[in-house]
């Protein structure tokens, strides 16, 4: 922790070496997080970089009472990625289908199919989804966001969120049944 504090102080002084050290320390988890939102690596890298730029710009405002430093960084980078998703990924409005998916998330008893998968399988499954459904699925099943927060974050309706969640299960069902012989 002392080393992390020293690095943070270096980042406050706009020291390039400290910034590089912090960036490389958090690069992999942040990239993995962003990669789940985006289909391509360069998008994920760009999101990481944009988020880390915000971190470096505001590292002087960080206080320990707000939480751990990585969580603070992680939140910033995720929100940055979501902003990018909202700007770049068109999310189709499926309000008319929302009623069909009303029962899907909540009626499954909180079953999370992603948790049973290995890490790389998650990404393989997510690559089979459309970008918007991928984002909603990631937020709901991986990040643990409630539907309401997802709707607010992506500026869409809760019905649309539900429809995307239903769509993700429908797409993943066949894959999981064929590969893992599991029931969603």
């Amino acid at each position: 922790m002392e080393e992390l504090e020293k690095t943070i102080r270096g980042c406050i002084r706009n020291d390039r070496s400290s910034q590089e050290k912090l960036y490389k320390q958090f690069y992999i988890p942040l990239f993995c997080m962003c990669r789940r939102f985006f289909q391509h690596d360069h998008e994920a890298i760009e999101s990481v970089n944009d988020g880390m730029l915000k971190v470096f710009l505001n590292v002087g405002t960080y206080r320990e009472d707000r939480g751990k430093f990585f969580n603070w960084v992680y939140t910033i980078v995720r929100n940055t990625a979501l902003d990018k998703v909202r700007k770049t990924v068109p999310i189709p409005v499926r309000s008319e289908l929302a009623t069909l998916a009303d029962t899907t998330p909540d009626t499954d008893g909180g079953y999370n199919p992603v948790l049973s998968l290995e890490g790389k399988d998650v990404y393989i499954l997510l690559d089979r989804l459309s970008p918007a459904t991928r984002v909603v699925c990631t937020l709901f099943y991986i990040e643990g966001y409630p539907i309401k927060d997802i709707a607010e974050q992506l500026e869409i309706s809760t019905g649309t969120v539900k429809w995307h969640l239903s769509e993700s299960r429908k797409r993943l069902r066949s894959v999981l049944e064929r590969n893992f012989n599991e029931r969603l």
Partner: protein, 667 residues
């Protein structure tokens, strides 16, 4: 979500579940973002950013000019204060002022003064029979040779154009109370070649002299021939009032003067003649007159060439009250054709010209004319008394060096004090030195370092020519060579091998192609090259003029040749399917040396001509220059969209130079 998620198999496992691009590829992109938003603070970066504004530069320039001007004014005022006592002292000492007239301007003014009272009156008193012609040099020499003993050696009036007697009427001597200008003695100037004239045959002439109440003793009547024939010691016209004035005495051929009585003859204590020199009259008592006092003071000036006792000084009696009072009473067998034409109106040429006279100047007897005549002898033919000052108006005498020194000593007398207009500043020793230096060439060479500042839309760039971060190469000293024509103008040439030129973020090249990257085969890759900085080799040639003090203003031309540059190369990936989800994202971005992209580098104009405007402040061997340069042509003839480029190179730079080598040369 917590920090423990870093090791979560989904959120961030120790082993990445998917291939992750190496962080070494991601960090440069991050670094570019940081450089753009959070540049590393360096002193020159900060300074350059702050100095980029025109307001700051204008303020610095204005403050520099104001401070330099204030410094110069303060220095100038100090000089003025120091020069005042010299003027006062010079006014109080009349004999010092005598050194003024050596300046030819004074002489010329006295000669050319058309409204001179002396000249007018002298012209009015001119006798009808007066011969205005002036014998030339050869005639004088002949006469002097035949006379075989000359009492004085004077320059013939015709030999020098500055002879005052030429411009003055010959009919008489006139004395102005203010302007004591004595024209040439008509007795000596007239008929000097008539060697056979005897005293009796010479028509009597009367020297009409106009004198004022102070200096004149009435019209001077010349003595008759008989009187002078045997009374060589009783010359009424005296030498300067000094018994030691041996060689300055003048001789009067009184035989040609006619027989006028000498009413004031007895009034001259020295009328009996020089006690030590036969035939010389003693110094009269006209020293009591104001003019005589001045004259005496003038004569007592040891530095003045007409000082009594000066061995080379021709005979002058500078008694203002006795304009014709010089001379010796010659024997009767002296003809007036002795040829001793004394161009000085004070000195009356002696009549002992036939060589058989009973008077022989022991100093001059037996000498040839040439030997007796000083090589560059000059006779002060007139003196101008203005405001109780005496200004000798005449030619340079031998031994004028001392006179020049005197003149230099009194350089600070303003001309307006003398009643003479003119804008010329009095010359002094220091001025002489500086004027001497003005004719010297000064060659110098040294080194200078320059710091350029972005102006206008130009942006500061901290990258070097190789797109690296070390910008020390931008400050390589440049050799220069200066040639100072005088202390006001100098030429300067320099060779600056590496001259950074800031530019605006100008798009130089843009090209789109199908992506060749793995996993991005269906994407369109757009490559853009944006100019950041150019590097030239400069050869400026400027001419500088000293505006005031140590501040120089310069202008010139500069030849610049492009040899490098820095640009930012960005690669964008764009989906080629317009119907599907589109995105345009930056894939790579980095600074490159412009030469590494021949396509972009080939679009620049390689040669550039610029004009320069420069303000320099020189102190000893150091020079601080503020230079503005502007190119005549755009550096990018054509833009990527096909339009014509308009941006021209311009820069504002600060140069600091030091003269390592200096050498004086002659023009």
């Amino acid at each position: 979500m917590s920090e423990e998620k870093k090791n979560h198999p989904i959120h961030g496992p120790a082993e990445p579940p998917i291939p992750i691009p190496p962080v070494e590829e991601a960090w440069p992109l991050m670094q570019q973002k940081l450089d753009a938003r959070m540049p590393v603070v360096r002193w020159h970066t900060t300074l350059g950013r702050h100095l980029a504004g025109w307001k700051v530069l204008s303020a610095i320039t204005a403050s520099t000019i104001v401070s330099v001007s204030a410094f110069w004014l303060a220095r100038h005022m100090n000089n003025n204060r120091q020069s005042k006592p010299a003027v006062t002292q010079s006014t109080a000492a009349p004999q010092d002022r005598l050194s003024q007239p050596a300046d030819p301007r004074y002489r010329q003014q006295a000669q050319d003064k058309p409204d001179s009272k002396i000249n007018r009156e002298a012209w009015k008193n001119r006798q009808p029979g007066d011969n205005p012609e002036i014998p030339n040099d050869q005639e004088w020499q002949n006469k002097e040779t035949s006379a075989n003993h000359a009492k004085k050696t004077v320059s013939p009036p015709g030999s020098q154009s500055n002879d005052d007697s030429e411009s003055a009427p010959e009919s008489g001597n006139s004395i102005d109370s203010k302007s004591f200008f004595i024209s040439k003695n008509p007795l000596t100037s007239k008929n000097p070649l008539n060697s056979k004239n005897t005293h009796g045959s010479t028509p009597p002439r009367e020297s009409k002299t106009t004198v004022d109440s102070k200096s004149a003793r009435g019209p001077m009547n010349l003595r008759d021939n008989a009187l002078h024939k045997h009374n060589t010691r009783s010359a009424p016209f005296t030498d300067p009032p000094s018994s030691t004035h041996r060689n300055t005495r003048a001789h009067v051929d009184l035989a040609s003067s006619g027989p006028p009585p000498l009413p004031d003859r007895s009034g001259y204590p020295g009328a009996a003649g020089h006690p030590n020199k036969p035939g010389h009259s003693k110094a009269p008592a006209q020293s009591k007159s104001p003019g005589d006092r001045n004259t005496k003071g003038y004569l007592n000036n040891p530095g003045f060439p007409d000082n009594p006792g000066h061995p080379n000084t021709p005979g002058h009696s500078i008694s203002s009250g006795r304009p014709n009072s010089s001379g010796h009473s010659n024997s009767s067998n002296h003809s007036n054709s002795s040829g001793y034409h004394n161009s000085s109106p004070h000195s009356i040429s002696s009549g002992d010209s036939n060589g058989s006279g009973d008077f022989k100047d022991p100093d001059h007897a037996g000498r040839s004319d040439k030997s007796r005549r000083p090589p560059q002898a000059t006779v002060f033919s007139a003196f101008s008394l203005q405001n109780t000052r005496i200004y000798p108006i005449g030619r340079r005498l031998q031994g004028a060096d001392s006179l020049s020194k005197n003149i230099d000593r009194h350089k600070k007398i303003p001309r307006a004090e003398n009643g003479m207009a003119g804008n010329d500043k009095p010359a002094g020793p220091s001025k002489k030195i500086s004027s001497k230096r003005e004719h010297d060439l000064l060659m110098s060479a040294g080194l200078s370092i320059a710091k350029s500042f972005p102006i206008g839309r130009q942006q500061f760039s901290s990258y070097n020519v190789n797109a690296g971060s070390n910008t020390l190469i931008d400050y390589i000293p440049a050799p220069f060579f200066r040639l100072s024509i005088n202390n006001r103008i100098y030429l300067e040439g320099a060779f600056q091998w590496n001259s950074p030129q800031y530019t605006s973020s100008q798009l130089v090249d843009s090209s789109a192609d199908s992506s060749t990257r793995a996993n991005y085969q269906g994407y369109l890759e757009i490559q853009k090259v944006t100019l950041k900085k150019l590097y030239y080799t400069d050869i400026p040639l400027t001419i500088h003029y000293r505006a005031f003090g140590n501040l120089y203003l310069g202008a010139g031309l500069q030849y610049s040749r492009l040899w490098g540059g820095v640009a930012q190369e960005n690669a964008h990936l764009q989906t080629s399917n317009v119907n599907g989800p589109t995105f345009d994202t930056l894939s790579t971005s980095g600074m490159i040396a412009l030469k590494n992209n021949p396509r972009a580098y080939g679009k620049f104009r390689k040669e550039d001509w610029r004009f320069l405007l420069e303000a320099d402040y020189a102190w000893r061997r150091f020079t601080l220059s503020l230079r503005y340069q502007q190119a005549f042509t755009p550096y990018l003839p054509a833009l990527p969209d096909g339009s014509k480029g308009k941006d021209r190179n311009a820069s504002l730079s600060l140069h600091f130079g030091y003269n390592i080598w200096e050498r004086h040369g002659r023009k």
